[in-house]
């Protein structure tokens, strides 16, 4: 096939996206596990691992810029590289949200309050599914899969609503000087982080659709 060098670099960049996404995917798993088991060491490893995620993102960005500068890509090649630039930024932010959840786990420490919201883990499963499916739809250039993945965000928003309402109810029932105020507020933040991950996965799906169709469109605007 002609353009061997470009095709090799393209495959390398795609592998990089896959690697970065599995890295932030694991960060979400670990952060949620740290929250559930109150494993402070695991939480700390997520926090520390975020620096590497950031580094990996910049390395990929540089690689893509290099390809754009030296290979003058056009059409679907250009769309893919521009999309990767956007996707690595979304993945890096997803890493930040995972780090945010790990920090909340650290803050809550031994406090079992998190366990009062079991739907948090259901929500995490949904957004992790969205993350994996969005990356696959991009790498496989599957428009239908990308659109279907965006629809999952509605479910994520609904879970977020329920957690939000439940936490508010808990807060309303607390005495004025209760120590749990901060803990419950942090739970809200944890669910907010998950909700944002869903939005970022939707962005990735939008890029998958752009790669296939050449049209930039906003899909399934989140209520948050």
């Amino acid at each position: 096939m002609p353009r061997t060098l470009f095709t090799e670099s393209q495959t390398h960049a795609e592998d990089g996206v896959r690697l970065l996404s599995s890295r932030v995917d694991k960060a979400i798993t670990d952060a949620m596990e740290a929250l559930r088991t109150r494993n402070m060491r695991l939480a700390q490893s997520v926090v520390e691992g975020d620096a590497e995620v950031n580094q990996q993102r910049y390395a990929l960005e540089e690689e893509v810029l290099q390809m754009m500068a030296t290979q003058a890509p056009v059409a679907s090649d250009l769309r893919e590289l521009v999309s990767i630039l956007s996707i690595v930024s979304d993945l890096e932010r997803i890493g930040d949200h995972a780090e945010g959840i790990a920090r909340i786990a650290q803050f809550l420490g031994d406090d079992p309050v998190a366990l009062t919201e079991p739907e948090l883990w259901v929500m995490a499963q949904r957004v992790q599914h969205m993350l994996r499916a969005s990356i696959e739809s991009f790498l496989e250039r599957d428009e239908a899969a990308a659109r279907a993945t965006c629809d999952v965000d509605d479910e994520v928003d609904e879970i977020y609503d329920r957690i939000h309402r439940h936490v508010i109810q808990q807060l309303a029932g607390l005495p004025h000087d209760a120590q749990e105020f901060d803990a419950y507020t942090h739970l809200l933040w944890a669910s907010h982080n998950l909700e944002r991950i869903g939005d970022r996965a939707t962005n990735i799906c939008e890029r998958a659709i752009f790669l296939v169709t050449g049209r930039l469109e906003e899909i399934n605007v989140s209520r948050y």
Partner: protein, 297 residues
């Protein structure tokens, strides 16, 4: 055989209901004989209307049924691999193929209400209205002034010749570099300057269309960018059709792009015509995508 204007299918004529219900692509194929080419409907004013244009050199068919509209006062790029017929197509526009004894053309190219391929067309008159700039700069071995004044002079221009020469050189972005050396030989200029002189010479006869065949391929990158800037500027007043092998150049300078491709029998066909922005970001035809992304061949 040339199709007379009154025999051409009338695109504006009302169609019966059954035909309007047919898929647009089928209809297009039937009416235009486009053989699958993706053709863009222009919003812009049209300078040239090509319909089923075929070119033969003896028994060899060099171009097969090319149909598209060239927009007025825009740069249109003709791209495609070597031997796809893009230079042949360019030469049809000012009847340069007449100079090749075995060449024969079918179909029509409508320009200002007349078919350029019609037998009554005065090819010299047409070449005044449709000028050409070639791949290699080809100034006459005369002074800079004489080069620019040559065309107007043989056309019997009676106006202020120095003013016309200055205006043409200014429009070709060369005046500031040569204004004190107008009597010097054109051959003393650099390659890039010579090419701009040829552009000045082409516009001195006030054409409506300027054809450019690889106008920057013999120039260095700086001179190339000057020619490209100039093409964009000239498109404000002239219709420009440029043949280029340089895909980035086509992307930079043109508003519309036609992609031609020859099959194994070496006959060139139009694959896709449309706004350059679309051709270079999201082409409709897989073959265009393969060519512009370098995966052709």
């Amino acid at each position: 055989m040339t199709i007379a204007p009154d025999e051409r299918p009338d695109l504006e004529a009302p169609r019966d209901e059954a035909s309007t219900q047919r898929r647009g692509a089928d209809l297009f194929e039937e009416i235009e004989g486009a053989r699958g080419a993706v053709r863009h409907e222009l919003d812009a004013e049209i300078a040239l209307e090509l319909r089923d244009l075929s070119v033969f050199y003896g028994h060899f068919m060099a171009l097969d049924s090319v149909s598209f509209d060239v927009p007025k006062q825009e740069v249109t790029a003709l791209i495609g691999p070597s031997g796809c017929g893009k230079s042949t197509l360019l030469r049809c526009f000012n009847r340069m193929n007449d100079l090749i004894p075995t060449a024969r053309m079918e179909g029509s190219i409508m320009f200002d209400g007349q078919d350029l391929l019609g037998p009554a067309v005065d090819s010299v008159g047409i070449r005044r209205r449709i000028g050409m700039v070639f791949q290699k700069p080809n100034p006459f071995p005369k002074s800079i002034f004489a080069n620019v004044a040559f065309g107007p002079k043989i056309n019997g221009y009676k106006g202020d010749m120095p003013a016309l020469v200055e205006e043409s050189l200014r429009r070709a972005a060369l005046w500031d570099e040569v204004k004190d050396d107008l009597d010097k030989s054109a051959l003393a200029l650099s390659g890039g300057q010579q090419q701009r002189l040829c552009i000045a010479r082409a516009i001195a006869v006030q054409p409506e269309i300027i054809l450019m065949d690889e106008p920057a391929s013999a120039l260095d990158p700086v001179a190339t960018l000057k020619i490209e800037d100039l093409m964009r500027e000239l498109a404000e007043d002239y219709t420009i059709i440029v043949v280029t092998h340089n895909m980035q150049q086509a992307a930079r300078v043109s508003s519309y792009t036609a992609f031609l491709l020859a099959g194994e029998e070496r006959t060139g066909r139009l694959v896709e015509f449309g706004p350059t922005q679309e051709i270079f970001t999201n082409p409709t035809d897989r073959r265009t995508e393969d060519y512009i992304t370098g995966r052709y061949g």
